[in-house]
């Protein structure tokens, strides 16, 4: 299983990678910008993407649109500090499979990931 972690913070990217470490994941890519994420996703079509929203350059919601354009069945879990309902609803309407708020709660993250891959 291929995982793509998108966040402008390297601390967050590494924390997510450590939290999701399991035998099911065979390959992990990381991207610090939306632009890099779209390029990487287009090349590898990862099974799951975790995606931040507030990033320099292309924001996460625009990145989500582009990933969904490439693959309407993409499984994208938003992990964002933006804790308002409107943003979460917007992300789901645009094709996100789930929405988690920062600060990251590792058991919640693992559960959301498990639900995504079982889907």
């Amino acid at each position: 299983m291929k995982l793509l972690i998108v966040d402008d913070s390297s601390v967050v990217r590494r924390a997510i990678e450590r939290d999701l470490e399991s035998g099911e994941i065979t390959e992990v890519d990381q991207a610090a910008t939306g632009e890099d994420a779209v390029r990487l996703y287009g090349a590898k079509l990862h099974d799951v993407v975790t995606l931040d929203i507030t990033m320099p350059g292309m924001d996460g919601l625009t990145c989500l649109d582009k990933i969904i354009e490439i693959n309407p069945e993409a499984r994208v879990l938003i992990i964002s500090a933006l804790r308002d309902k409107a943003t979460a609803i917007d992300a789901i309407k645009r094709g996100a499979s789930g929405f988690l708020c920062k600060p990251i709660n590792p058991p919640e993250l693992r559960e959301a990931f498990q639900l995504l891959i079982e889907d």
């Binding site: 402008d8 913070s9 390297s10 924390a15 500090a81 920062k102």
Partner: protein
């Protein structure tokens, strides 16, 4: 800004530090107003705010506290880049979480990170500076809320 708005940020601080280590209490001292000379520590993450409010939210801390947080997050080795990354991410998390109360029109920028006492950010002159003192594992940090 009023007392209720400041309570929103206090709740965000509480949530953040509790997420790190439930058995370590975070102490949040009574907020105060300090319009002159903001109490910046060694590292500061600044989030510009626009939309519903204007100004900035800053999280400022010394390296010791930030290194403790990174250790808790199992980061090793710890370097200055990681510390800067973390202080920006904390500022981002605290500001973004405040949208639960302030809504989607409370627009937050990506973090700007500054080191040392002289922070090169233009704070709006018409804003009051609310300072929320935070003590975690014996180390002090501040959340500065400077909003109109």
């Amino acid at each position: 800004m009023n007392d209720r708005d400041i309570q929103v940020f206090i709740a965000c601080v509480q949530r953040y530090f509790e997420s790190l280590k439930r058995d370590v209490t975070v102490v949040i001292e009574p907020p105060f107003i300090k319009d002159e000379e903001k109490p910046f520590l060694e590292y500061t993450g600044i989030i510009g705010i626009s939309g519903k409010a204007h100004g900035a939210v800053c999280f400022t801390a010394n390296g010791v506290m930030l290194e403790s947080i990174l250790s808790f997050l199992k980061e090793a080795p710890i370097d200055r880049n990681l510390i800067c990354d973390l202080v920006g991410e904390i500022a981002n998390t605290l500001s973004g979480n405040a949208r639960e109360e302030f809504g989607r029109d409370f627009l937050i920028s990506v973090p700007i990170v500054s080191t040392g006492k002289n922070v090169g950010f233009k704070f709006p002159p018409d804003c009051r500076n609310y300072v929320i003192p935070i003590i975690w594992q014996g180390e002090k940090a501040y959340l500065l809320v400077c909003l109109s």
